[in-house]
């Protein structure tokens, strides 16, 4: 079966531009997570969705970051007015129904470079 997919795989943008990153979770997975992985660093939690609602947005680093999920499936992470420090790999993961923070299945990530 298909795993978690993310697009684009790579994104290069200029400082100040807005970017949208997309995540397609595994079919039937109700929970969806966004993480940021900077070079040589661990994963930084950004936001968690259960269905279309986001009970935990605590990791979003600033109001330039927002995310939405529609139809309990696809999610979009939007970064407005990008800064160079936003350069990182953005990872999406999904989990099947059950306890929150159940086993997470990760996508390959989107590598964002802000020039």
């Amino acid at each position: 079966g298909a795993g978690v997919s993310q697009s684009p795989s790579n994104k290069v943008t200029e400082k100040g531009k807005d970017v949208e990153l997309r995540c397609d979770p595994i079919s039937g997975h109700t929970a969806l997570y966004w993480y940021r992985q900077s070079l040589g660093q661990g994963l930084e939690f950004l936001i968690y969705f259960q269905g279309n609602s986001a009970p935990d947005k605590s990791g979003l680093p600033s109001d330039r970051f927002s995310a939405e999920r529609t139809g309990g499936s696809v999610s979009t992470l939007t970064i407005q007015r990008t800064q160079q420090e936003d350069s990182a790999v953005y990872l999406c993961a999904s989990s099947p129904p059950g306890l929150p923070y159940n086993e997470q299945f990760f996508g390959p990530g989107t590598r964002l470079t802000v020039l």
Binding site: G42, F45, D56, Q104, F105, P108
Partner: protein, 109 residues
């Protein structure tokens, strides 16, 4: 309180040797401790996980040892193979998942 510390940052092991990666935490509310394996250009994949009521869990060549009183847990890879060369992350689940900074393992042929 929410951090998970991980060491070493990098590790080089000969083929057939034992790789050991250590993690430590402070938050006693953490209730689930997974290890993830990540190859370059790929997302992390769950390798093995343990709950705090168990002191050891073994799956094939991979073993987690858990010391609840010391708030430490470790991953042991027995008979390490070049194909095990990857970055390994420990994590802990509380209100959300907290990840260690990762250990880059290189297994020499």
């Amino acid at each position: 309180q929410q951090q998970v510390k991980q060491s070493p940052q990098s590790l080089i092991v000969q083929k057939g040797g034992i790789s050991i990666i250590n993690c430590a935490y402070e938050n006693t509310a953490f209730d689930y401790f997974p290890w993830y394996q990540q190859f370059p250009g790929k997302g992390p994949a769950l390798l093995i996980a343990i709950r705090p009521d168990v002191s050891e869990k073994k799956e094939g060549r991979f073993t987690i040892s858990f010391n609840k009183s010391a708030k430490q847990f470790s991953l042991h890879i027995m008979d390490s193979q070049p194909g095990d060369s990857a970055t390994y992350f420990c994590a802990a689940r509380g209100q959300n998942f907290v990840f260690g900074p990762g250990t880059r393992l290189s297994v020499l042929p």
